[in-house]
């Protein structure tokens, strides 16, 4: 069986699980794991959504101008949802989108009304608690004209469950002059399979920044968000920070269609390979003149047991464009390790610091709270040999 293929039939429906009443029913260990993902009472946020298996457990907003609902409620509430539902991602895309279209568990709907710029993040958490289920979610985020939203999504599984599958369809719409910073910090399990299917549409002057952080083992993840920049001056950035472990198959892509003049994009990935198979794909398609795109992929190999593939692709349909890419795969420089050893660090400590440094990407435009969360995740992940 190809690594991309997953036998959907072997997973149970998430709807068949026992439903906890609220978050207090979670064990201390589970609460700790969610805290690690940033679901911490002490952190300021504008709103939150927590879904366990198929059940939304928490859905609240703290300020005006923000709407958060379980998506199943929105179908009854808003007629306009049909303008967004399956419009950025096709339900026929593959077996995973079809599975979500046929049997939806739930998901979140978040909308920021025109002109509202939210200061603190909105946090969502999709958590799998039950063994051997497929969690099928569909999320829609709309950032209306001139609005701003920082959305942090944390996904995780129960610390002790075996096999599980997460399929997440996400459709994001950034209207004229809006800004969406979308960040995923994932702590999957060594037996979790993950299939996010994401589509993004950005209008004139809008900005979309996506950061994907996965520093803990996952069995199999394959994703390739497709972003269309439809209006002049629209921008999109994709940053992924990945640690790949033995037994893991991590295939992260990103495709940006520059469909209007003066649109810009960058796709940056940093991958540390301890083992397993890591594929970093990026594709930029220039469908209008006067556009700019840059792809950057760097891999650090820490073992002979792993495979790293960097696949950059640039397509242009016009001559007046600026598309560039750079890719590099290599090992840790011994000179750097020795330098740090001369400052009193053991070989392991030195390696860990170099890896952390390698994975530290300065991301323009992300809120300090998110940067702090990424830094914290980097601290907690064991990044030495």
């Amino acid at each position: 069986m190809k690594k991309e293929t997953i036998n959907l039939k072997k997973f149970k429906s998430a709807k068949e699980t026992s439903k906890p009443k609220d978050l207090s029913e979670l064990t201390e260990e589970e609460k700790e794991r969610l805290k690690l993902l940033g679901l911490d009472e002490k952190l300021k946020r504008e709103g939150e959504y927590v879904q366990i298996d198929a059940t939304p457990l928490l859905c609240r907003k703290k300020i005006e101008g923000l709407e958060i609902f379980p998506i199943t409620e929105v179908f009854k509430k808003y007629d306009f949802i049909s303008d967004y539902y399956w419009k950025a991602v096709s339900s026929e895309k593959d077996e995973f989108t079809k599975a979500v279209a046929e049997d939806l568990d739930n998901g979140y709907f978040i909308r920021v009304l025109p002109g509202y710029k939210l200061v603190y993040p909105v946090q969502t958490c999709l958590y799998i608690r039950t063994e051997n289920i497929a969690q099928k979610v569909h999320n829609i985020v709309i950032v209306e004209e001139g609005a701003e939203l920082n959305l942090i999504t944390s996904c995780s599984v129960h610390p002790h469950i075996g096999s599980a599958l997460h399929i997440g369809v996400s459709e994001f719409y950034v209207k004229k002059g809006g800004k969406l910073t979308f960040s995923m910090i994932h702590v999957w399990g060594e037996k979790t399979d993950v299939r996010p299917r994401t589509g993004i549409i950005v209008e004139e002057g809008g900005t979309y920044i996506s950061t994907y952080v996965s520093l803990f083992p996952v069995r199999n993840i394959q994703t390739a968000p497709v972003c269309r920049l439809l209006g002049k001056d629209a921008k999109a950035s994709f940053i992924s920070i990945i640690a790949n472990y033995p037994g893991s198959y991590v295939n992260i892509g990103g495709e940006v269609h520059l469909e209007a003049e003066e649109t810009k994009t960058e796709i940056i990935s940093r991958n540390v390979v301890y083992g397993g198979e890591n594929i970093a794909r990026g594709k930029i398609i220039a469908k209008a003149p006067k556009v700019k795109g840059h792809l950057e992929c760097q891999g650090l190999m820490l073992s002979d047991e792993g495979i790293m593939r960097a696949i950059p692709e640039l397509d242009s349909h016009f001559y007046d464009v600026e598309l560039t890419h750079e890719a590099a795969v290599g090992k840790i420089a011994q000179e750097e390790v020795e330098y740090l050893m001369a400052r009193g660090l053991s070989e392991d400590e030195a390696t860990s610091l170099i890896v952390k440094g390698f994975l530290t990407v300065k991301i323009e435009g992300i809120p300090p709270a998110l940067q702090a969360q990424i830094d914290k995740t980097l601290e907690l992940a064991k990044l030495g040999f």
Binding site: E336, Y339, L340, A342, G344, S346, L353, K356
Partner: protein, 249 residues
């Protein structure tokens, strides 16, 4: 006189090539010694071997630090025991800030990093990536700041003046003096230094107690550092060879 570092008949190979051929050296506590030598004479190899880097293979001989045989210890153990090195060409470490390294160097030393950096007008560099885009002088300041925080008993300085402009050399001299406790001449010293140089100009800023000339992996001459430097300036290293023929020791 208490001895801090003692090297006995040290033979070292780098990538299969014999570079050091029977070095003997004794450095007492509180003293600074300076080693002159051309590029390729074996100076850097000597410092790297004292620090314990694995690509410098000791074929024969011993290194004692504070009376303990450290010949087979890894660099971080030597650093913990009190040896620090200033690299001539330190590497850039991506994503790691100078501040991060300083915190690691400080360990339990209660040193106020911000204040110390301000003293040497280097506070703006604390949050920059280590050595990335630093000029020659900035690299030296970064190295010396790390050593000041690390506070070693033995400081190994590899060409401290190379690539430094006139404006910065005085400040670098000041930092080295502080590191070697030469800024408080009336107090007893317990810090020692081993400086290697091929130009010798550092002597104008940091006084040394004893000088050596190293050629082809051997120490050829030992004596007053200022006199040795004057001799090298006048006659070059070729002169050292002729001199040796006359006054072999």
């Amino acid at each position: 006189m208490k001895i801090l570092l003692e090297i006995k008949d040290l033979w070292v190979e780098v990538e299969g090539k014999e570079v050091l051929k029977g070095i003997n050296l004794t450095l007492p506590v509180g003293q600074t010694h300076i080693i002159f030598g051309r590029n390729g004479s074996g100076k850097t190899t000597l410092l790297m071997t004292i620090m314990g880097f694995p690509s410098y293979r000791i074929k024969h001989g011993k290194i004692y630090f504070k009376g303990e045989d450290i010949t087979n210890l890894p660099p971080y153990e030597r650093a913990k025991k009190g040896i620090g090195i200033m690299f001539q060409r330190p590497p850039t470490i991506k994503g790691v800030k100078l501040r991060d390294i300083l915190k690691l160097c400080a360990k339990e030393n209660n040193i106020k990093i911000e204040e110390l950096a301000q003293t040497f007008q280097f506070e703006k560099f604390l949050d920059r990536e280590l050595n990335k885009g630093f000029s020659g002088g900035e690299l030296k300041k970064s190295e010396l700041l790390q050593l000041l925080v690390q506070n070693p008993d033995l400081v190994l300085l590899d060409e401290p003046e190379s690539g430094v402009d006139v404006e910065n050399i005085q400040l670098i001299g000041k930092m080295i003096k502080k590191l070697l406790q030469k800024d408080t001449p009336h107090k007893p010293r317990n810090k020692s230094g081993l400086i290697i140089t091929h130009t010798g100009f550092i002597l104008q800023y940091v006084a040394a107690d004893l000088g050596y000339v190293i050629m082809d992996g051997e120490i050829y001459c030992k004596g007053n550092p200022v006199e040795i430097f004057e001799g090298i300036q006048k006659y070059g290293y070729e002169g050292c060879k002729k001199c040796l023929k006359r006054f072999s020791w």
